[in-house]
């Protein structure tokens, strides 16, 4: 018999309280219950990073976590990166400017992973960025434009 638990989470600043099946992954929960489909599931085994979201500001793989584990936590998805007035996050701007995406499927995970990374490492070099996204697979871009975008965004975020 399916087992349900009541959970409370804040997603992109909005509080949700609902019953979820205990086996539901955080990724499925965000996509299906909260109807935020920006978070993508690429592998569902923790390798591709497409499903990355921020849990209390830290990058986590939403395919490897259960929704019930997020109870009481704050989650930011790609939909929550831009300002409320719609102005883009410097990483989003930079991805756009540097052609940091092609099909866009890996992009939400790249953006969330890098948001967390740049938050802690404001002055990365190219090698640092490559290591930082080594757990995010992109089949389209060859990574170079993503690296360029991240370096540029880091600069902007430092106010340079």
């Amino acid at each position: 018999m399916p087992d349900y638990r009541n959970i409370k989470v804040v997603v992109n600043g909005v509080e949700h309280e609902l019953d979820v099946e205990t086996r539901t992954s955080l990724g499925d929960f965000l996509r299906q219950e909260i109807e935020l489909t920006g978070t993508h599931l690429g592998c569902e085994h923790g390798v591709c990073g497409a499903c990355t979201v921020l849990l209390d500001g830290e990058a986590v793989r939403s395919c490897l976590m259960l929704a019930v584990q997020a109870n009481g936590h704050e989650i930011t998805t790609v939909e929550g990166l831009a300002e409320e007035d719609g102005s883009l996050h410097p990483l989003q701007e930079a991805f756009w400017k540097h052609h940091g995406l092609q099909c866009g499927f890996c992009t939400p995970g790249m953006l969330t992973s890098l948001t967390a990374y740049l938050g802690e490492n404001p002055e990365p070099n190219e090698r640092d960025i490559r290591e930082a996204i080594s757990g995010n697979i992109c089949r389209c871009t060859g990574y170079q434009s993503i690296v360029d975008a991240a370096l540029d965004a880091a600069k902007k975020m430092r106010g340079e």
Partner: protein
């Protein structure tokens, strides 16, 4: 003329949606009454099915129905049709949408569960009992054609699907005049699709309304519409196929899959929309791949390295069924003789069935294999004769003054392969310059003093792009002044929306933001082929240019009448037609559109058809041939066999670049795919046909941390085959990459006499070659 967009690095129109999480991929589409499907797939590589018991699964709460082939209905116990029939196909093996009584690869769909949720559908899969009678699996193509070999299909006469041959020139003469003949054998393996979005299908049937609608993560919506309508025996007009945002395609999404029959049929039977999203494990075993080719070649040359002829044999692994005709093996042979003028070629190819997932093209199709083979032999000549590989290339290139150059090879339809334009030596020069080739020896010997092994490798290629026969665009100005642009061309990330909008905007005097772009929806544009073989720029772009030109001409003609001036005195800027020198005298495109769609009991201006619109199918009159040279510089750790790419330089020519930023992205992404082929990606089966690489810990994709920065430079030799001078750019990075890297590895390990005879080159294999060299 208004603002110039062609040639500008315009930021993509697609991106604002995608970077904010508002893309619309198949799995993002939801209908209220939708059910979810999961497939039971064969766990056996080759077996007879004695029985399938679905009773327990059907009884599970939340399961709506479980279908085997028989449950789809009596009319549907048929194999799928061959999409690309060809005389070469001696045994036409296509699969049933759900297996009937025999399964021929691990992953072949046997049954489908439809349930309230995907999770419940998956629970039910575990309750289905299949009674198999295991048969011997055929896995190794090298022995599959021997007398008495096991058969991959129990009703086949042999494992041979068919034979092909590319033969031209006087091969005996070439070999008899040779100063040297060198031979080499090597295996090439190109892995799977691994788009980050897996496949997925939603079907909804509305027999009294819209008919059957399919949302599918695919490259060729029209091919799917035709194949499905055909198989069902229903009119194409009643089947609508939509490819929404697609998260990468790379070839394997260009076909027509069993799920694209089964999901529509079960949606029809259940009378509600049904969704199926492939999971990653299914992707490994049910999405087509491009696996092994064994090549054995001999090259005849003069002492100065001039190549006279090339002959040999290829054994091509087909997998269990033929989903896609002979496009893949055929495109392996047609690129011979590569960028070189080789007067005689005779290479045969056997296509062999195995009990593995069916094969289809992956980025570049057979071209990377054909080019690798040629480049390998050029490398061999250079090495054996002790002539610099750049020099051997110079002595053999097709030269600009030979263009258009007929190689002697034939395309699938029998037309000759003709190189339309290009300057291959100029590309080599640029790549050598970019890579500091001349000073490499210094870098190498410096490194050697520190005990490090550096190597450099060159690879040159041609790529037949833009295959026909057509693709089209409609451009229409609507009353609001917005421009509606529709085309059949699907996009999987290549930026077609931006590229086509740029062309229309430039020609029509509007901005790309004024354009409403619709594509890859058979309900919105009558016909198209799809995004395969780097064909969109070379086919859609000229049609968009032409359609926009026609709309422009019509607008100017009408505006000239209304403004009482000569057409030659008019120009369009920001959507307004103005009289040169009298900018206040003007009329907007929107107003002209209204004049051409007047209300009832008024008149369409005399001499005009209604609607400010035009459609064009103007494309390329042949295949524009793109070209390039790549140079890889690597360091090999002789202890661990690890290969590090230190530098990677590309000189590429895809004719006129519409948006250089997008071209750059295609090239870099393509190179990295090629690096994956050379060093990482391998789909391994054991001798029973069980797949051993089923996740991204076992099947390695290129990661950011291992990839080098890739330096790219271009020359633009306009193609004479279309109005814009463009050539395709989608695969030109991938095609030459493996040959450059492997030549660099061999160069680094020259003192160990290492000769690589298969790729991907994994560390274990490389250390074994090094050890053999040490003891050797």
């Amino acid at each position: 003329m208004g603002v110039r967009y062609i040639g500008a690095e315009v930021q993509r129109m697609e991106d604002p949606r995608l970077i904010t999480g508002h893309g619309r991929y198949v799995d993002d589409i939801v209908f209220g009454d939708m059910l979810h499907a999961a497939f039971l797939r064969s766990s056996q590589a080759h077996a007879k099915i004695r029985s399938i018991d679905t009773s327990k699964a059907s009884a599970l709460s939340g399961v709506k129905k479980v279908f085997t082939l028989a449950d789809l209905g009596p009319n549907y116990e048929r194999r799928m049709n061959q999409l690309y029939p060809a005389p070469v196909i001696e045994q036409n093996k296509t699969q049933y949408p759900l297996a009937k009584d025999e399964v021929c690869y691990v992953g072949e769909a046997i049954a489908v569960v439809v349930a309230d949720s995907r999770a419940i559908a998956e629970d039910a899969l575990a309750l289905i009992v299949v009674d198999y009678e295991t048969l011997q699996a055929v896995i190794d193509v090298r022995t599959a054609l021997e007398d008495g070999a096991q058969l991959a299909h129990s009703d086949a006469t042999s494992n041979l699907m068919g034979k092909m041959r590319s033969k031209f020139g006087d091969i005996e003469d070439a070999f008899s005049k040779a100063d040297h003949v060198f031979s080499a054998g090597f295996m090439q393996h190109r892995g799977g699709c691994h788009s980050m979005e897996t496949r997925g299908v939603i079907a909804r049937d509305d027999p009294w309304g819209d008919g059957l609608t399919l949302w599918t993560s695919a490259q060729s919506a029209y091919l799917i519409r035709r194949a499905l309508a055909n198989w069902l025996g229903e009119p194409e007009e009643r089947v609508r196929v939509i490819a929404p945002d697609v998260g990468g395609g790379f070839g394997p999404k260009a076909g027509f899959y069993p799920e694209e029959i089964v999901i529509p049929l079960v949606a029809r039977i259940m009378e509600c929309p049904v969704k199926w999203i492939e999971d990653r494990q299914e992707h490994f075993i049910s999405t087509t791949t491009q696996r092994d080719q064994y090549w054995n070649l001999e090259v005849a040359c003069k002492s100065d390295g001039k190549i006279l002829g090339l002959k040999g044999k290829v054994t091509h692994e087909n997998g269990a069924y033929i989903p896609y005709g002979i496009l893949l093996p055929n495109s392996s042979l047609t690129p011979l003789p590569g960028a070189y003028s080789i007067p005689a070629i005779d290479v045969g190819l056997d296509i062999v069935f195995t009990n593995t997932v069916p094969n289809s093209p992956v980025r570049g199709a057979g071209r990377p294999c054909g080019i690798y083979a040629v480049e390998r032999m050029v490398q061999l000549v250079s090495r054996r004769l002790g002539i610099d590989p750049a020099v051997v290339r110079r002595r053999n290139f097709v030269r600009p003054e030979q263009m258009p150059y007929e190689t002697g090879a034939k395309l699938r339809g029998g037309d000759p392969v003709i190189y339309d334009s290009g300057d291959y030596e100029a590309l080599l020069d640029k790549a050598l310059e970019l890579s500091d080739y001349d000073s490499f020896k210094v870098r190498q010997s410096e490194a050697r003093k520190e005990g490090r092994y550096l190597g450099i490798g060159i690879s040159s290629c041609i790529e037949d792009t833009g295959m026909g026969p057509y693709e089209g665009t409609t451009v229409r100005v609507e009353a609001s002044g917005k421009i509606v642009v529709k085309t059949g061309a699907a996009s999987q990330g290549q930026g077609h929306h931006t590229m086509i909008s740029m062309i229309v905007a430039e020609n029509l005097g509007v901005t790309p933001e004024d354009i409403i772009f619709e594509s890859a929806d058979t309900g919105k544009f009558p016909h198209g082929i799809g995004a395969i073989g780097s064909r969109i720029a070379a086919n859609v772009a000229p049609s968009a240019f032409d359609a926009a030109s026609k709309v422009r001409a019509k607008a100017l003609k009408l505006a000239a009448e209304i403004l009482e001036t000569a057409e030659a005195d008019l120009d369009i800027e920001a959507g307004i037609v103005r009289v040169n020198g009298a900018p206040d005298v003007s009329i907007s495109l929107g107003e002209l559109a209204i004049k051409l769609t007047p209300p009832s009991s008024t008149r369409v201006p005399i001499g005009f058809d209604p609607i400010l619109e035009a459609t064009s199918f103007d494309g390329s009159s042949g295949s524009p041939i793109a070209s390039g040279t790549n140079v890889a510089e690597v360091e090999v750790d002789t202890g661990t066999g690890e290969v590090k790419i230190l530098r990677y330089s590309v000189a590429h020519d895809c004719g006129v670049m519409i948006n250089p930023m997008i071209v750059h992205g295609q090239i870099v992404g393509g190179v990295v795919h090629g690096i994956g082929n050379a060093l990482f990606e391998r789909m391994i089966y054991d001798d029973q046909g069980q797949p051993l690489t089923m996740n991204y810990g076992e099947y390695l994709l290129p990661l950011a941390s291992e990839m080098p920065r890739i330096d790219v430079t271009h020359i633009e030799t306009p193609s004479p085959l279309n109005s814009l001078g463009v050539k395709g750019a989608g695969e030109g990075g991938t095609i030459p990459a493996a040959a450059a890297i492997i030549a660099a590895i061999e160069n680094a390990l020259e003192e160990f006499s290492v000769e690589v005879d298969y790729y991907p080159v994994d560390p274990q294999y490389l250390t074994s070659l090094i050890e053999a060299g040490v003891t050797g």
